[in-house]
């Protein structure tokens, strides 16, 4: 029987299907490739570059792009391309570490809340609603002014505010999955609450969580850029696109490229993640599964 069934239709897993659909989506592939490319350059560039992000050359300030400095130099004679690439490191780190914090808090708390239900669930969700109702940036600035300005504290401030979205999502997923037959079957077979949550409920709610995290990353990157732009983000000399815009803005009439390049960089990275997120959402939606 099994052999006959397999010869009719090859075995497809959800993730295999999703991967095939994702590859067909041109925008998502473009976004994903751009992100990988930016990450790759950010990792290997320092080994090949003749400039570093902090060294100044006061004989060559505010230069326009040339063969010597591909994207020109800033007001202290630093190579803009080098600073842009180190800035990408900061941005990607912000994107990754904030989401690790978001997952570390949101996933267990959302799962616990949804699996437990009742008064505990109500209490946790009321708290989540309060944070959710508030503008992110405002709370992040508030936390940032309490936690201080080290880059890790900025990860923490963004993570501590953004986890509520994931917690809500996971809870919602688990509440709807709890009603499904396979969960009832697992319970009838004697599976404990913890076992059912970790083996059945969580893995099945992973798809939407991945999509949400993909959309959260550019938001976190932008938040860091915005904080650094208003001067309460990462501290110099750590390069950040937001800080580059802030510094370059003072000389925008003399050297608009100092502001233009980091602004374009923020735009490209945000677009790439959005395209990838859109593609993932379509690819992981089981209703589209053939």
């Amino acid at each position: 029987m099994t052999i006959a069934a397999e010869s009719v239709r090859p075995h497809h897993t959800l993730w295999g299907d999703a991967w095939i659909r994702l590859r067909r989506n041109k925008l998502a592939v473009t976004g994903g490739v751009l992100i990988l490319l930016i990450a790759l350059i950010a990792i290997i560039y320092p080994f090949f570059s003749k400039y570093d992000f902090a060294s100044q050359d006061l004989n060559a300030i505010l230069q326009s792009p040339s063969s010597e400095h591909l994207l020109g130099t800033d007001e202290l004679g630093r190579d803009v391309l080098t600073r842009l690439i180190y800035g990408a490191r900061t941005s990607l780190m912000v994107g990754i570490f904030t989401q690790l914090i978001v997952l570390a808090i949101g996933l267990p708390l959302g799962a616990f809340s949804g699996a437990t239900g009742g008064r505990t669930d109500n209490f946790i969700m009321r708290f989540v609603d309060v944070i959710y109702a508030f503008p992110d940036l405002l709370l992040i600035i508030l936390l940032r002014s309490i936690l201080g300005g080290s880059i890790y504290m900025i990860f923490l401030a963004i993570g501590l505010v953004n986890w509520v979205g994931v917690a809500r999502l996971v809870r919602g997923q688990i509440l709807s999955l709890k009603q499904r037959d396979f969960v009832t079957a697992a319970r009838v077979l004697g599976g404990s609450g913890g076992y059912i949550t970790t083996r059945h409920l969580l893995p099945n709610s992973l798809g939407p969580v991945i999509v949400t995290v993909t959309f959260n990353i550019p938001r976190a990157i932008f938040t860091e850029a915005a904080l650094s732009y208003i001067g309460i983000g990462v501290q110099p000399p750590t390069p950040s696109w937001g800080a580059m815009i802030r510094d370059g803005y003072n000389v925008i009439f003399a050297a608009p490229h100092l502001v233009l390049f980091p602004a374009i960089a923020i735009g490209i990275i945000m677009l790439s993640f959005t395209f990838l997120g859109d593609g993932l959402r379509d690819a992981l939606d089981p209703r589209l599964r053939r």
Partner: protein, 305 residues
């Protein structure tokens, strides 16, 4: 309906109390007090100041004073601007922020709804594709980045518009556009999706079968129903425009509440920070409540009780 409103207002009060408490406690955890300046004050002076502002009382009493003040429209004292209350600082910045927010909001509606409608009515045409592409791009590029591009094009290269400031129409154009693009993109997306949904409804087909003029169907049946989801989004959008504008206010040097808030953060003016956060909380919660009620008024199918 009345029960629903009472219930919502009750929750609104609870939420605001919790937000005030969290903010208040966080501010108390911050190392250093409001009187830590470059010049150290004599201990007697610090004692006198603490007494004047009630900072010598225990924590819960201070929180009680603070809530009592809020109920009387007093958001506390600013520690960096002498002789000025947080309320007066916010009232000074509010007209600018609100003007900018409302202009951007109108702009977003004027751009978003026609584009979304056109895209849906001519589905899979070039208009549709362009509208979808633009709304995808503008939904992911922050207004801040767009603002910078606008400044480089229209101020630095063309010298048509000033880079910032407040007072003339020329100074509002760029920040309003930079602020409006994101909500405009969202509104276009939602309008398109909901119009497509409405076009498939039986009552539209019935109206067409009855031979009613296309224009009448569009205005009386399609537009009215397609705009319901747009209205639900309007509350959060307006709240976003009012609270999310502080990056734009900083970029374009507009002396609104967002910019004052950022200045307060720099000056470690905890009085101002706390007052602004709570003010934002009131505005956002209030707007969302108004929109939820409006929602029920527009769509009689929705009943909350």
């Amino acid at each position: 309906m009345t029960r629903y409103i009472i219930n919502r207002v009750f929750w609104l009060i609870i939420v605001l109390l919790v937000v005030s408490f969290i903010t208040f406690s966080l501010m108390h955890l911050v190392p250093g007090g409001p009187w830590d300046k470059e010049k150290t004050l004599a201990p007697q002076v610090v004692d006198a100041l603490n007494k004047k502002y009630g900072l010598d009382k225990p924590f819960y009493a201070q929180f009680g004073d603070f809530i009592w003040g809020i109920l009387h429209g007093d958001l506390g004292v600013s520690y960096s601007f002498q002789d000025r209350s947080v309320t007066s600082i916010i009232l000074q910045g509010l007209p600018k922020t609100a003007t900018l927010g409302v202009i951007a909001f109108i702009l977003a509606i004027l751009i978003g709804i026609p584009f979304g409608m056109a895209a849906a009515l001519k589905q899979n045409s070039i208009v549709d594709y362009l509208s979808v592409i633009f709304s995808t791009i503008f939904a992911s590029i922050p207004g801040f980045v767009l603002g910078i591009l606008l400044i480089i094009i229209f101020s630095v290269e063309l010298h048509w518009l000033p880079t910032g400031g407040w007072g003339s129409i020329q100074q509002i154009i760029m920040p309003a556009f930079a602020l409006a693009t994101l909500p405009a993109a969202f509104i276009a997306r939602i309008t398109r999706a909901s119009t497509l949904e409405v076009l498939r409804q039986d009552y539209v087909r019935t109206a067409q079968a009855m031979g009613i003029k296309q224009r009448t169907i569009l205005v009386r049946h399609i537009l009215r129903n397609a705009l319901i989801p747009v209205v639900t989004m309007a509350g959060p959008e307006l709240a976003f425009l009012i609270s999310g504008s502080f990056i734009i206010e900083n970029l374009f040097s507009i002396p609104g509440i967002g910019r004052m808030f950022v200045n307060g953060v720099f000056a470690r003016d905890y009085g101002l920070i706390m007052g602004s956060v709570i003010f934002y909380g009131f505005v956002i919660a209030g707007l969302n409540l108004v929109v939820d009620i409006l929602y029920a008024v527009i769509d009689p199918r929705i009943r909350y009780d």
